[in-house]
Amino acid sequence: MSAVISASGLSKQYKTTLALDQVSFQIEPGRIVGLIGPNGAGKTTALKAILGLTDFSGELNVLGFDPRKQRDKLMGEVCFIADVAVLPRWIRVCEVVDFVAHVHPRFDRAKCEAFLARTKLQPNQRVRQMSKGMIVQLHLALVMAIDAKLLILDEPTLGLDILYRKQFYQNLLEDYFDENKTIIVTTHQVEEVEHILSDLMFIRDGRIVLDADMDAVGERYIEVMVNADQAAAARALKPLDERQVFGKSIFLFDGVGRAQLEALGEIRRPSISDLFVATMKGTYA
């Protein structure tokens, strides 16, 4: 199957800053891609380009459409939750369901109402009367009832409590995701999406610094817990990062042979957040 998104030489210049700098990538169907980067790295700009919300230079193809020219058609196949709480504050639950049901050709009303029935939302409730978590529940119910090929989530759980956050990703995995769908998610709460991602993209200063599937990440990056006497040997292998825990050193290696590292100490798979911190070192300096 062909790629859901293929980008090459994607650039976007804001007045003084280069938000995207010759970015190229491909996203295959049936993947859950985490687009992770520090604030101001260009995540949102990349998503906006994919959604046709902003102009850019370079080549970009999303589901066979050019987001600049065929945005209206593209949005029939793509859903997005851009940031939390962008639902209009005046609208009622029943109104927004009614509206989307009549303007979206791929919306399944029964499905939406089934999702809503599992929440505390009342049909006559207005968005302004809801908590942030409830707004996201409503938005998610709308989005999950749309049979879209691509779902884009930009910081969907920012500011929610842990119950809502867990529930959000759980619903997404259990009731929404299948092999025909693709999800791109950006978030700072890396630990929470770590287990659901199939692909990982790190973006820094408008460039993709890592683009790999999780298996490849697991093979390429290895963390080793090394006793003090072996530390010098470990440092000789040029680790990405080093930190101290309980008198031992933990080294993070990129592309060093597994056998070689096993000789130094106990090896394990690094968490995405550790990997992220190591990769982004010095971003704000």
Binding site: L51, L53, R71, V78, D83, P88, R89, R92, F99, H104
Partner: protein, 326 residues
């Protein structure tokens, strides 16, 4: 579920109505209610004072005279009474028309700005709806839906008023049906409904300018929409004073500023209609009738306004599509 362009447009307009129920629906309804209430109070005041002072509210002073009067009305005065009653019907809609002007003005100013400010544009833009359809639905809401509701509310209030006055007069021996038969409620309603297409064409430059500002301004669309044309006018006046550039100042204020800011007020097109007025209420009313109003279609002012509006609305759609600040 199938969705067609017309269906999408219908739901977009419905959405606008939901959001602006207060301005589009409650404003005319409340105005009508207050209007009726004030008139009831007026009638009661009249009756009470009349009774206290021992005379009746009638032209001749006694009931018999009044009855005789109404029976003996000649053609001329029957027309006058009829026109007076029609005037009563129009009066409520005229007040509501002024309210409508303000409602539409501020609606247009916020139409493409408010959702950018509260970022809900990101939700609307996540749906497969073209920006052209979005802007079009807002134009329809401003120029068709809002005036239509105003006309309906105005007509109902007018009929209520008519019945009230007739009932009050009937207390003094004037036959209700006779009086009512002198008025032309259907014609009044037809006149008002018939004015809506004219309103659309005439208000379009104001709608276009306000929506352009609404789609373009990064903040404070009101300031841009109002201050910009006024500042330009002041500069023109200044140049005129110096005698360097000769742009007719009065032309600018009347044919530009008034058209891009004031044309949402219904009836403002009568500036383009000649021969307004008359020697009696009936003549005045007929000079303000919808058929006379439509002679404004012959003015270049109206069509230049429409052309400018189309350009400004195209600009508004473009900004709606590409403005990237949310």
């Amino acid at each position: 579920m199938k969705t067609s362009t017309a269906n999408t447009l219908f739901w977009l307009v419905k959405r606008e109505f939901w959001e602006h129920r207060g301005g589009f629906f409650w404003a005319p309804v409340v105005t009508g209610g207050v209007f009726v209430l004030l008139n009831i109070m007026g009638i009661i005041t009249g009756e009470v004072f009349g009774a206290r002072n021992g005379f009746n509210l009638s032209f001749g002073g006694s009931q018999n005279n009044m009855r005789l009067l109404s029976q003996a009305l000649d053609k001329q005065s029957m027309d006058t009474v009829g026109a007076g009653l029609d005037m009563v019907m129009y009066s409520s809609t005229m007040i509501m028309g002024i309210i409508l002007g303000f409602v539409v003005f501020f609606y247009c100013l916020g139409a493409l700005y408010d959702d950018r400010r509260d970022r809900s544009i990101l939700f609307w833009k996540s749906l497969p709806i073209s920006d052209t359809a979005t802007v079009l639905s807002k134009i329809i809401s401003a120029t068709v839906v809002a005036p239509f509701i105003t006309v309906i509310a105005g007509a109902l209030t007018g009929i209520l008023m008519l019945l009230m006055f007739a009932a009050a007069l009937s207390l003094h021996g004037v036959s209700v049906w006779h009086l009512l038969s002198l008025s032309h409620p259907l014609q009044v309603i037809a006149n008002m409904l018939g004015s809506i297409p004219l309103y659309l064409l005439w208000a379009l430059p104001t709608v276009g300018w306000l929506m352009l500002c609404s789609a373009w301004a990064r903040s404070k669309p009101f300031l841009w929409a109002v201050a910009l044309p006024i500042a330009v006018g002041i500069v023109i006046g200044w140049f005129d004073l110096l005698g360097t550039v000769n742009v007719p100042n009065s032309w600018y204020w009347r044919d530009v500023v008034a058209r891009i800011l004031g044309s949402v007020f219904p009836g403002s097109w009568f500036g383009e209609v000649s021969g307004i007025g008359g020697h009696n209420p009936a003549e005045l009313l007929s000079s303000l009738s919808v058929t006379r109003g439509y002679t404004a279609l012959a003015s270049a002012n109206l069509w230049l306004g429409v052309a400018a509006a189309i350009a400004m609305l195209a600009g508004a759609i473009w900004f709606r599509r590409w403005r990237d600040d949310s």
